[in-house]
């Protein structure tokens, strides 16, 4: 953990410095966390809600942060869990089967007013949405966020070997989808 984060954590745990430290935390990590969430849920409005929920959870549980992992890993983990909880609750709300989640997210992608990519980038996003949930997470974190396998292992609580295998399968499926959709 870098020194800045150590100081930030220490200040977050102090009553007199907590508010200021929290503002600094939000400013420092809001964008990275937002994009991680956005790639999972696709919709900007949903990502906004989840990002707020994530920071509220962080605010409430910072006292229990044991510093066994880096601050960013811990934040990332909370954001991931909040995103997956959101998707699961959506499934229940709309009586969606496990394999129909991608249809819901596909609708979000097609109707997204803030999508700025070209056709091929849209195709890639469609290919990613075909992947099982864990593979989708691993692919996004490795391909777009360029996280190291040991960081991902800490966030997703999965072994490095399993993550490497997941990434390998994910890229293979995406390649097939892109070839077949030409």
């Amino acid at each position: 953990m870098n020194n800045d984060d150590r100081v930030l954590i220490a200040n977050l745990k102090r009553e007199d410095k907590r508010d200021l430290a929290f503002n600094q935390l939000v400013t420092k990590y809001q964008e990275r966390l937002y994009w991680h969430i956005r790639k999972i849920v696709i919709s900007h409005d949903d990502a906004d809600d989840i990002l707020q929920n994530t920071f509220i959870k962080i605010w409430k549980s910072i006292g229990g942060f044991r510093e066994e992992s880096s601050l960013y890993t811990w934040l990332y983990r909370i954001a991931t869990n909040e995103s997956l909880t959101f998707i699961n609750s959506n499934k229940k709300k709309h009586f969606v089967q496990m394999n129909e989640t991608s249809e819901l997210l596909m609708n979000n992608l097609i109707s997204d007013p803030y999508f700025e990519g070209d056709k091929i980038q849209l195709k890639l996003q469609e290919a990613i949405l075909q992947l099982p949930e864990k593979q989708r997470l691993v692919f996004n974190m490795k391909y777009f966020d360029d996280l190291k396998y040991n960081e991902m292992s800490s966030i997703l609580e999965t072994s490095v070997g399993a993550l490497k295998a997941s990434y390998h399968h994910a890229t293979k499926k995406i390649e097939e989808y892109l070839k077949n959709s030409e």
């Binding site: 939000v26 937002y34 707020q52 777009f144 390649e175 892109l178």
Partner: protein, 152 residues
């Protein structure tokens, strides 16, 4: 899947695509986010109690007070009642009226001659009412004499 050349070889279609984030956000989204989050945190702190909990919060102290009074009454009333009923039974205390005591005191304070004179006058047909006697006593006996006679 290691370096870029390996990716290009094994995943040619994927390697052709720009590795850019294709998603966008509303203007100034990140500039405003902190303020909106702060507002939401403040709102969560000021959670308004539900109607049911408000009623319960109002009634609780009243119930507590009522229960306290009931307990005190129970602890004081029964022993006192038990004690008093025992006391009256033991002493056979008879209540008396003020008028009866006053009349008997009047008779005792009048000397014999006056008393018999009064009786004699009565025999002559003159009758003295209680009011007459009271009037006589109040004009002939001072309050001090009345007090001392009463509390001998």
């Amino acid at each position: 899947m290691g370096n870029m050349s390996e990716i290009r070889k094994k995943r040619p279609q994927l390697s052709e695509i720009k590795k850019e984030n294709p998603f966008g956000t509303p203007d100034n989204y990140f500039d405003d986010f902190s303020a909106r989050l702060h507002a939401r945190l403040e709102a969560e702190k000021k959670v308004v109690p539900t109607k049911q909990s408000r009623i319960i919060r109002f009634i609780k102290p009243a119930i507590g007070l009522a229960a306290s009074f009931a307990l005190v009454a129970l602890l004081v009333y029964w022993p006192v009642k038990m004690y008093l009923s025992t006391e009256i039974a033991d002493n056979n205390i008879q209540p008396y009226s003020y008028e009866e005591e006053f009349s008997s005191m009047v008779v005792e304070s009048i000397d014999e001659n006056s008393f018999f004179t009064l009786l004699g006058e009565q025999e002559d047909g003159i009758e003295f009412s209680e009011e007459d006697l009271m009037s006589y006593v109040s004009s002939n006996i001072s309050e001090y004499e009345f007090y001392t006679e009463t509390y001998k």
